[in-house]
């Protein structure tokens, strides 16, 4: 198996660690991913991103072209009719492929239930040390820097989406079974990624990162 490692990319000077209270390795994934694709001469990288997650992801093709620098040009995407995919590319370019682009958060949970897929415990309700920062509930960890007024408390939470520990907000939840989670998702008033600090950095945070090569 080929593994692209953010830590190695940082050690090699390919990616940099951010500094300060909001430091995260989220963007360090970009050069790591592009470098791994380039080194292995991959033609395509498959991902589980979905259009319903976020407003820039809502614009994605199933078969999405990336140029020689791994960049996405959302203003100039290729036509994609029916289920015909255009795999034509020049040397050094690649595709990002999103087979479950049209699935919703609810579809995912119903599929997991139907196929009885095992999941990491983080998705289910559990007690955890957390820090409340703005509207988000961040997990306490050695990788987080507390602001002077912030304190660590214990709360019953689960994760609706899982990214880096430093930017993924938990949700208050008692949902400990699949049925419980499905009911919770059906009644949700906030979006799945609403607690992701990486999307909140600016209005176009996801689009900007995707243009640079983020998944």
């Amino acid at each position: 198996m080929v593994v692209g490692s953010v830590q190695e990319a940082i050690d090699n000077g390919l990616a940099q660690d951010e500094k300060g209270v909001h430091a995260t390795r989220n963007t360090a994934q970009i050069p790591t991913l592009i470098d791994t694709i380039e080194k292995n001469k991959f033609d395509a990288a498959m991902g589980g991103a979905r259009r319903d997650e976020e407003k820039a992801r809502a614009k994605e093709r199933f078969f999405s072209h990336r140029d020689d620098f791994g960049q996405w040009d959302p203003k100039n995407q290729r036509p994609e009719l029916w289920n015909l995919f255009n795999g034509k590319k020049k040397f050094g370019e690649h595709f990002r492929v999103f087979p479950i682009s049209n699935w919703t958060e609810m579809d995912i949970w119903q599929y997991i239930k139907k196929e009885k897929i095992a999941l990491p415990s983080l998705y289910f309700s559990h007690e955890r040390e957390v820090i409340r920062r703005g509207n988000t509930i961040l997990a306490n960890s050695p990788f987080i820097t507390l602001k002077p007024n912030e304190k660590v408390t214990k709360e019953i939470v689960r994760f609706r989406t899982i990214g880096d520990l430093t930017i993924t907000g938990a949700v208050e939840s008692e949902a400990s079974t699949l049925d419980h989670i499905i009911a919770e998702v059906a009644a949700a008033r906030e979006t799945e990624r609403g607690n992701r600090a990486d999307d909140q950095r600016s209005e176009a945070a996801m689009e900007e990162r995707k243009k640079e090569g983020y998944f």
Binding site: K59, Q77, P79, N102
Partner: protein, 154 residues
């Protein structure tokens, strides 16, 4: 979720109100999440608008928001107790017709918008022709911006 899937697309000339209609439809059917609504409210205020600009819900790209037009097709999902829907909100601008075709190719129904002030114009005809070429089984014509002609019939 039970029930069939209906996929529909918007069509019609630039600025006829396609994205606004979709945003409004999602708002009225309570399919917009609180944080999404807060975000587009905030952006509308920053643009100096008194009301929420519902086109911001599908016009998610930076350039679309700066130029006030749809550039590429955006997909949105919602459901009622009986049905699931996938909406493709497509651009009206002639330059982006290929993106309209992309969205329309998988649709079972097309909503063709017409600005009451302009009537049927070049892009309305082009999009209608594309809908027919793609054999989209259901086509609905929506007359929009009737407020701007004092709801008169001519």
């Amino acid at each position: 979720m039970k029930g069939e899937l209906l996929r529909f697309t918007t069509a019609g000339s630039v600025d006829d109100g396609k994205s606004t209609l979709i945003g409004r439809l999602l708002y009225d059917s309570k399919s917009i999440f609180q944080d999404q609504l807060a975000a587009i409210e905030n952006t509308s205020k920053k643009k100096g608008l008194d009301e929420i600009d519902f086109s911001l819900l599908t016009d998610g790209l930076k350039d679309e928001r700066e130029q006030g037009i749809t550039i590429d097709v955006a997909y949105r999902y919602f459901n009622t107790p009986n049905r699931k829907f996938i909406i493709a909100d497509t651009p009206g601008h002639i330059q982006y017709t290929r993106n309209m075709v992309t969205g329309a190719s998988t649709a079972n129904a097309a909503l063709i918008l017409i600005d009451a002030r302009n009537g049927v114009i070049e892009q309305t005809k082009r999009h209608s022709y594309i809908a027919s070429l793609l054999q989209i089984p259901h086509v609905l014509v929506c007359i929009n911006k009737m407020d701007l002609v004092d709801y008169q019939t001519i």
